[in-house]
């Protein structure tokens, strides 16, 4: 009886999504604004429900796990989803199609998939949740049907993502063949027997990781990221940049850190290779980008690379995944998603005449036209660059410190050097905003009240994090310790 209550937040989101879908169906397109507001409220309500939960355990026939770690990640995820919805009305308001009520519903359904992913405790649950997420994201990416770029991005995303899902499924079937069961516990138990690892397990594991790498856009599986980021409507890009990264990275940490921890000797080198490739590629390729969305795509690749360093860190004493490393990853995720949403939040509102602002050069003179807005953007960019005292530095610091403690100092060295290179492109935007004179055409920025509040909150978080970091840092610590320390 109690077991179904574990999934109360998920059920809330699902029911709310269906109810809102009905409202949209009956009231038509003009209900877009209302449905979006209701969706934001219900996502935040679900976040509150998650945060209020205290009990931990496995429910729904061993498919669904709830603990402090899952709660921490879900709260982040729900806030990120709500945040990306907040900036939708302003963006779609300026478009021909307007804000359709399906949009928030699809975001909610994709978010539901991600919540289930985070709570997965079984390979089947994992796969089904992942597909639910993907389905929502495909449609969202192609949401602006009349725009060629959006449709193209949707198709690209669908092809590559479906391909990776297939590879992952094949890998999962190999893992199943090894363990003889689909539950995480079975996997952990079988591996803990300590027998030699058959080649099938190794191949399966690598396939599963390749699937994950594509979802989190780690190089060399990053190809789709810049194109999809660029083609998707901006609020979808913001959603894609924040929510799925949180869910997939958090799930990857669970999968590797709990059921597959005994196979660390297999997955650690793979993670390290992915991390190095992502950091290097994301930092250098970003330097060449002129489109803000593409630039943010490479920024995502570089940042994910750094987070993978944290996952690759193993505890030198206990041998498990390093508590500090995963704690660092959670902190990193928290500050990363806020800064990313902040960047997109600023850009979403900007118009040059009627046209959307997409090129970095369009931001010239922003600091004169909108001093506060450019201050917000500058804070987000410096945070992404990892310059203290802004929040972004904390993520980098703790992740790389954990890596050094785990003996992976070469990765930490590459990490800091990559962050210097990446600082080049973040700084370039600041430079264009502050140092360059505007082209003369006026940048306008229609924003809603909620949009302003969202930006203000994000800025306060990024700037004032240093004064009171303990809620996030201690919360992450507790969450990770419950997950990794039995």
């Amino acid at each position: 009886m109690t077991s179904i209550l574990f999934a109360l937040p998920e059920i809330t989101v699902a029911l709310a999504a269906m109810a809102l879908l009905l409202i949209g169906a009956f009231r038509g397109d003009k209900a877009g604004g209302l449905v979006t507001s209701a969706a934001v409220v219900s996502l935040l309500a679900a976040a509150a429900l998650v945060a209020l939960g205290r009990e931990s355990g496995v429910a729904l026939y061993g498919m669904f796990a709830v603990d402090d770690y899952r709660r921490f990640v879900k709260v982040m995820l729900l806030i990120a989803a709500a945040g990306s919805l907040v900036l939708a009305p302003v963006f779609f308001g300026g478009q021909k199609s307007g804000l359709k009520p399906e949009y928030p519903v699809l975001v909610m359904l994709a978010t539901l998939g991600m919540m289930l992913m985070i709570s997965a405790h079984d390979w089947i649950a994992l796969y089904v949740a992942l597909e639910l997420q993907n389905l929502g994201l495909y449609v969202l990416t192609a949401f602006q049907r009349e725009e060629k770029r959006s449709s193209e991005a949707g198709l690209k995303y669908f092809m590559l993502s479906a391909f990776s899902s297939a590879i992952m499924l094949f890998g999962l079937s190999l893992l199943y063949g090894f363990a003889g069961g689909t539950g995480f516990d079975v996997m952990a138990h079988t591996l803990a027997q300590g027998q030699a690892m058959p080649i099938g397990l190794v191949v399966g594991l690598v396939f599963v990781m390749a699937g994950f790498a594509l979802k989190v856009s780690a190089a060399p599986f990053h190809m789709w990221t810049p194109d999809v980021y660029e083609g998707a409507p901006l609020p979808v890009t913001a959603f894609l940049a924040a929510a799925p990264k949180i869910a997939a990275l958090a799930l990857l940490a669970v999968v590797l850190g709990v059921p597959l921890i005994a196979a660390a000797s297999v997955w650690q080198p793979v993670l390290m290779a992915l991390a190095v490739a992502s950091m290097a590629l994301g930092s250098f390729a970003g330097l060449l980008q002129k489109n803000i969305k593409r630039l943010m795509a490479y920024s995502a690749i570089a940042n994910v690379g750094t987070m993978l360093v944290g996952l690759a860190a193993l505890d030198p004493v206990a041998g498990g995944m390093s508590v500090e490393g995963l704690q660092g990853v959670l902190i990193y995720l928290a500050v990363y998603f806020v800064a990313t949403l902040g960047v997109f939040g600023v850009v979403a509102g900007l118009r040059q005449g009627e046209a959307l602002v997409e090129s970095v050069d369009d931001l010239a003179g922003l600091s004169q036209a909108h001093p506060w807005l450019s201050l917000v953007l500058a804070a987000m960019l410096f945070s992404l660059a990892g310059v203290p005292p802004l929040a972004g530095f904390f993520g980098k610091y703790f992740v790389l410190l954990a890596a050094v403690k785990a003996g992976l100092w070469p990765l930490a060295l590459i990490g800091v050097l990559a962050s210097v290179v990446a600082a080049g492109y973040y700084l370039r935007i600041v430079k264009i905003m502050y140092f360059d004179k505007g082209s003369g055409s006026v940048l306008t920025s229609p924003r809603s009240y909620a949009h302003n509040c969202g930006l203000a909150l994000a800025t306060l978080f990024v700037v004032l994090f240093v004064l009171w970091p303990s809620p996030v840092i201690e919360g992450a610590h507790q969450a990770v310790e419950r997950l990794l320390v039995p």
């Binding site: 500090e324 310059v387 610091y397 050094v404 600041v430």
Partner: protein, 494 residues
């Protein structure tokens, strides 16, 4: 008795000023700028007055870290909010709190976005004070790097023609140096299990590791100081920065490198410091001679002063790595003196630049006849930069040379060459600008110092003479710590 958290107070007061500026209601541009200047100056002034309590409350007889503030910050990461000053850092804090209001007053001429300019200066001040008083490595790094953002904006937004290039170079150059330091901090924290700097000072790192750690810190501090050949960002940044930015840059930011060498390289990695001392001494000598020679060839006044900074910082690193008490004392005095003198010289360049909008030395000549007051003030600072006895410059250079002499006579001989060269380029600059007959029409039109400008120079003038005539006031506060440090360095071989 409840202890007032003095250090936190003077760190957060400027930040409070930033908040106050941000809340300033939108008004007429000119009116709002005036208000912003007043508010900023008020906060900086109060901070300065509050910081004067430091030497009063600091017990110089006991020495060591005092006015300690400690609070648990992030328990799961073992991070502690740990602040304190010793006789060495105390003076840097005072230098920061003194120069910030002066820089602000000189920045009153900034018309464009005056409010943001003032906010950036206040932010800079908070970061500098925080950096000099941090006793936890995490905190130290946060403040050390935090300086970059406001300085980047000051150069880039309010700078000269090539400001974008200079700002980017400044940021990326120093950022690259600092992240190497960050890795070294990681390794230290991993090895020692704590990021408490006072604990790390007593920790013996394995020899092999210490060498790498030392090099990583060197990368950061050598860029910051700057030492030859890592100095190339400095002339660009100085020339492009607005006067207020140059004042802070030369006055305080360069000292962060010297402070880092003392606090971290010497105190935490003494053996590696001894190993690398010959290298640093060699680089210092090159910096002294090369910096002086290049300064001699400059036609831009600001660039000349910038290269003279490179040369003066050479004395600082020379003194520090001479490993003697005299050398350390000398390095400290050169840093304090340079903080005052270079600030004054940049202010002076700003004075003439505002009148003629050029810094080309050849454009001037005979200024002394039209600006007698300015000429006499500038003379004092020129002589202080040359190291005339009775001015602050003499004490530091003399002690640093003495330290070099104790280490190796030949080193002192080369360093002495730098003093001669220094006299040549500074006096030649003075002669070209001030002496002769004012021929050009616009030079004849130049007005003498206004009251605002005079008010900027007077405190510096006073301090330069005080430091030169009675340095004991300053040395006695740092004596215990310097002696202790020098003793720990030479403990074995002497």
């Amino acid at each position: 008795m409840v202890q007032i958290p003095l250090l936190s107070l003077i760190t957060f007061l400027p930040l409070l000023g930033v908040v106050a500026l941000a809340l300033l209601p939108r008004g007429q541009d000119e009116k709002q700028a005036r208000r912003a200047r007043l508010i900023a100056l008020m906060f900086a002034g109060v901070t300065f007055v509050a910081s004067l309590a430091l030497p009063i409350f600091y017990d110089a007889v006991v020495g060591g870290f005092q006015l300690i503030e400690k609070a648990v910050w992030m328990p799961s990461m073992g991070l502690v909010y740990h602040r304190g000053v010793d006789g060495i850092s105390l003076w840097f804090v005072l230098l920061s709190t003194l120069l910030t209001p002066l820089a602000m007053v000189s920045g009153f001429v900034v018309k464009e976005r005056a409010r943001s300019f003032m906010a950036a200066l206040l932010l800079l001040e908070a970061m500098m004070i925080g950096m000099f008083t941090s006793l936890d490595f995490f905190l130290f790094y946060v403040f050390f790097e935090g300086v970059l953002i406001p300085m980047f904006l000051i150069i880039g937004v309010w700078g000269g023609e090539r400001r974008v290039y200079a700002a980017m170079k400044f940021f990326l150059y120093t950022f690259l140096g600092s992240v190497l330091m960050l890795v070294a901090i990681f390794v230290m924290v991993m090895k020692a299990g704590t990021s408490d700097m006072t604990a790390l000072m007593g920790f013996a790192f394995p020899k092999e590791m210490a060498v790498w750690l030392w090099l990583a810190f060197f990368a950061s501090f050598a860029v910051k100081t700057p030492m030859w050949p890592f100095h190339t960002w400095l002339p660009d940044a100085h020339v492009q920065a607005p006067t207020a930015g140059s004042v802070i840059l030369a006055g305080v930011l360069l000292k962060m490198g010297g402070y880092g060498f003392i606090r971290i390289s010497l105190q935490m990695l003494p053996e590696a410091s001894a190993t690398f001392a010959p290298l640093v001494v060699a680089l210092s000598l090159i910096a002294i001679v090369y910096g002086s020679l290049v300064a001699l060839a400059q036609t831009d006044m600001k660039k000349l002063v910038a290269y003279s900074s490179v040369a003066h910082m050479g004395y600082v690193t020379l003194g520090i790595f001479s490993g003697t008490r005299e050398g350390l004392d000398g390095a400290m005095m050169v840093m304090l003196s340079h903080g005052l003198v270079s600030a004054a010289l940049f202010l002076g360049v700003g004075v003439v630049y505002e009148r003629l909008h050029t810094r080309d030395i050849a454009r001037f000549g005979g200024v002394a006849s039209v600006m007698p007051r300015f000429a006499s003030v500038f003379m004092v600072f020129t002589l202080a930069a040359v190291g005339l006895p009775g001015t602050s410059g003499f004490v530091g250079e003399f002690l640093a040379m003495q330290g070099a002499w104790l280490m190796d006579h030949r080193v002192a001989a080369v360093a002495a060459l730098g003093i001669v060269l220094g006299a040549v380029y500074m006096l030649w600059l003075y002669a070209r600008v001030f002496f002769g007959v004012a021929e050009k029409a616009d030079v004849k039109e130049m007005r003498d110092l206004t009251w605002r400008e005079a008010a900027l120079f007077l405190p510096l003038l006073f301090l330069v003479l005080w430091l030169g005539l009675y340095p004991t006031t300053f040395t006695k506060v740092m004596d215990v710590d310097v002696k202790h440090l020098a003793f720990s360095l030479q403990g074995e071989d002497r």
